[in-house]
């Protein structure tokens, strides 16, 4: 089943130098395992290919039903150097939420995931 990330998670992003971080939080605790299985480092790196210049790190926070991604080389140098509108990486959060996940039907049914329209 096709699932829109924005229907199952919320997010906030920020900066540290030239790295943006995106914290992705499951809207329901039961949806965290789905995020943890399908929102992989490779999937996120592919999503931002050509948009960021460096690699991606991924951390799990099951206590907050959240994943944290570090997007390196995301801010044209970051801080005061950057020429970008989003020099502080504030809206990488919703850029990540544009992603759609392919979740096996049975897994999606058990977790009660909303299907993409």
């Amino acid at each position: 089943m096709r699932v829109r990330l924005m229907d199952i998670a919320h997010a906030r992003s920020g900066d540290k130098g030239d790295t943006a971080n995106v914290g992705v939080i499951a809207l329901k605790p039961a949806w965290y395992p789905v995020l943890n299985t399908h929102l992989t480092r490779d999937r996120v790196a592919a999503h931002f290919a050509g948009i960021i210049e460096g690699g991606v790190d991924r951390f799990e926070l099951p206590n907050l039903n959240a994943l944290n991604f570090l997007l390196h080389g995301a801010l044209d140098g970051g801080g005061t150097l950057s020429l970008k509108t989003d020099a502080q990486g504030k809206v990488y959060s919703t850029a990540l939420l544009r992603m759609e996940l392919d979740v096996p039907d049975e897994e999606a049914r058990v977790a009660g995931l909303p299907a993409a329209p």
Partner: protein
Amino acid sequence: MSKTVRVAGGQGFWGDWPDAPRRQVDGGPVDYLMLDYLAEVTMSILQKQKERDPAMGYARDFVGAMEGVLPAVAERGVKVIANAGGVNPEACAAAVQSMAKAAGRPDALRIGIVTGDNLLPRIDELLAAGHELRNMDTGEPLSVVRDRVIAANAYIGSTPIVEALAKGANVVITGRSTDTALTMAPLRHEFGWGATDWNKLAAGIIAGHIIECGAQCSGGNCLHDWRNIPNLADVGYPIVEGSADGTFVVTKHPGTGGRVSVPTVSEQLVYEMGDPHAYITPDVVADFTSIRLEDAGPDRVRVFGITGAPATDKLKVSIAYKSGYKAVGSLVYAWPDALEKAELADRVLRERLDRMGLKFEKVLSEFVGASATHGRLAGDAGRSAPEVQYRVGVRDADRKKVERFTREIVPLVLNGPPSVTGFAGGRPKVEEIVAYWPALVDKTVVQTQVEIR
């Protein structure tokens, strides 16, 4: 009933809501008001101001904030902790004392001044002693940019703030304290936490992380259910109700707008997060994977379970150095085919720069309304946008080249593609870039001082 200490967050950065500090002390009982003024680049701005005028170099907004909360400090015993001192905490304290005197309360304040974070006068001494101050991101030694350094401050922790409170200060002004120490220090002071009570110190740091960005944990900038967050016009700034065991509740004053909930606090917890297992501060290494959140009633979230590990033997140093020039300009193109016109303008501009032989370290073009923030992920929706802002910037070490670039934008209004407006600002300004150089230094190098005035 066990003791609760209320620490209110009243300012998330220099430029935050001017009314927030006063609202925090007038809206209900609080014991401490915490005001965070310093971002990574703020110290360099303050350093420049101090060079122009030796009586400057601190966050001047703080004097106005203190005026607003002076009755609460004088009559109800509310204490204030702020890193408003910037590169000149003494001058900041003097300005606050003058304000109190002018307000007819010359004896109301006992100001604790924390200094020792400023390493600028000691850089050559440190380099000579073998402290390379390598850039934490690139690994380069500071010697590469030494002649362009304009500010250098160590991030200092809670200990000198606790010392100032123990000496009876009711206002504590620091320079480059960590944002989180401003909240942890009063909890540590009130509950007598030791310098190796790692779990409790970590809890205090995480309480600080939650409220250091002001309303960003109480409904501001909150994506979750944003349409239904009540009354943002009257948003309540956050309050930590701390307990001796390190657990705490995040809340806000009754009757204020916004929301404190597990989702609003969770969003703030992941903000600017690195490795969640190791949130390194001068006081403790906090583990964000240990945090437990629990709904504790309307606009109340209980936080518990936090663990921490021993602090490292280093302090982070925030160094600012001059790094060339930049300029960014923009024009607005209107329907029909707004994006196509803006893209043509970009090609024309770049061709003109090429013909002049102007090469820059970086030229960045963005199309606001189409793809500026999400790039190709935004898809084709921008093709039918009713208007698109063409935004173009350059960066280079040579000021003259950047200056020349700024003259090439406005002419496009008459000699480029049609349906263009939004040029009222004229030529963009050339800005000198002050860049950020994060480094580490041995803790033993930095000695803080506390003076009560």
